[in-house]
Amino acid sequence: MTTNNGHVSSPLAVRGATLKFGGVTALDDVSISVADDELLAIIGPNGAGKTSLLNVTAGFYRPQKGRVELSGQDVTGLRVDQIARRGLARTFQGTHLFAGQTVVENIMIGRHMLMKSNVVQAFFQFGPVMREESEHREAAEEIIDFLEIEAIRNRPVGTLGYGLRKRVDLGRALAQEPSILLMDEPMAGMNSEEKEDLARFILDVREARKIPVVLVEHDMGVVMDLADRIVVLDFGRVIAEGTPEEIQKDPAVIKAYLG
């Protein structure tokens, strides 16, 4: 992708982000950039700042220093929903699903920002609203099909096990038709069969949507197999960056993380 002033811009770039909470430095001058259609993994010990990095990217935290760019546009300081509307979707560490709502409803909420009807139309339930509902419902069902969660379609999410919730979480993010997807520990709480499934889903998403994915994950098997490139954080700093092979051999990474 090229911007008008000519230089190549990546779908997502964080430049020199520093984030402090009181005395705690969660991020210390972190820069990453994601290439088109790339699967970038971010790894690092607990408390290294991985989630914080995603939060800064998504606009949930505002870095004290540094900038966040989406396709070359500076989005630092925008509200989360504004950033989401620019095509950034994420899944959560732990779940932040709407527990009382069913799976379909959760996914439909993901489509909220793509829908256009206004309150008056909704009140009178005429014309375009109904059509729009059906269209988006169809898209939601497609995602449900894809993630193979048809059976639990009408179950309230609060009654699902941890693993299924993560799948719904992914579905909801996909429903936003993002141009970049951030995933925070999607595999946590799954057995290896389920991890295989989810890995397949992630690969399929990339293939079908051609969007870059940023993945934070502790399961080294998953990370090494799926990632095109890995960034390693420790104490809020990037300590290594490279292909899976390089990272696996990096002594600093072994010392800080792999053990």
Partner: protein, 263 residues
């Protein structure tokens, strides 16, 4: 020590989540419970610890006996007084309290402050990371840090039996090793464990006996080492092929999926 006989659990009076589960945990043992998503593992733990009520669930049949006392549908705080602590999933720390206050609350039944201090030190030596974080507001800690705190908090009560839900969830590889070291240590000190895990390899490495649950029923059980050799377990839970190699996630076959997306 802990015995479940034909336990059935119903949520909201309609959803039958456990359909006659029986298992036994002997004193000093570590028993692992494996199973896929939604199999009913967490439900089993909640049934034991009495925390079902908050989700509108009840033990609708069968009995749960802890050291001779029937504890099905008992008040959660009473179950704890009988010596069982449940470490819940979902990283439920007391968010506005500091990490150390969380630990102190965990040890609230400790009679005197000298003993409390001793236990705190014990936790800090086993998990030095928590010592660094002692004055952090727990709600702001990272996911993994919270997970550690939960384990530490359970230790503070020094229960006879710890029922723990996915201790390795969200922990970095090194940290998993450390935590399992801690569990082993506690086990050697005589604590009984009832362990629900997705990280089956880790779980089987410390467990004496294991149950596999699917769809609210126990489908397989046996000594941990026996199960670890089972073909199906290897394939689905340990992620190794029959030949003993780890498969690559990239090689998962498309044909296993029923349908391609946006084809």
């Amino acid at each position: 020590m802990l015995e479940l006989n034909n336990v059935e659990v119903t949520y909201s009076d309609v959803i039958l989540a456990l359909k006659g589960v029986s298992m036994t945990v002997r004193a000093g043992q570590c028993v692992a419970l494996l199973g896929g998503n939604g199999a009913g593992k967490s439900t089993t733990l909640k049934a034991i610890s009495g925390t079902l009520k908050s989700e509108d669930g009840t033990v609708s049949a069968g009995s749960i006996v802890l050291d001779g006392t029937p504890i099905q549908n008992m008040e959660a705080s009473e179950v704890v007084k009988n010596g069982l602590i449940h470490v819940m999933e979902g990283r439920r720390v007391l968010r506005h309290l500091t990490s150390e206050q969380n630990l102190i609350v965990g040890g609230h039944m400790v009679p005197n402050s000298a003993e409390l201090k001793k236990r705190l030190d014990h936790v800090y030596t086993l998990m030095p990371r928590l010592a660094d974080l002692r004055n952090r507001t727990s709600g702001f800690m990272s996911g993994g840090e919270q997970q550690l705190l939960l384990i530490g908090r359970a230790m503070m009560a020094s229960p006879k039996i710890i029922a723990i839900d996915e201790p390795s969830l969200g922990l970095a590889p090194m940290m998993i090793r450390d935590v399992y070291e801690v569990l082993k240590q506690l086990k050697s000190e005589g604590t009984t464990f009832f362990l629900v895990e997705q990280n089956s390899a880790a779980a089987l490495s410390i467990a004496d006996y294991a149950y596999v649950m699917e769809n609210g029923r126990i489908v397989m059980d046996g000594p941990a080492d026996k199960l670890a050799d089972n073909e199906d377990i290897k394939e689905f839970y340990l992620g190794v092929t029959a030949s003993g190699e780890r498969k690559s996630y990239r090689d998962i076959k498309h044909y296993r999926r029923r349908k391609r997306w946006l084809g």
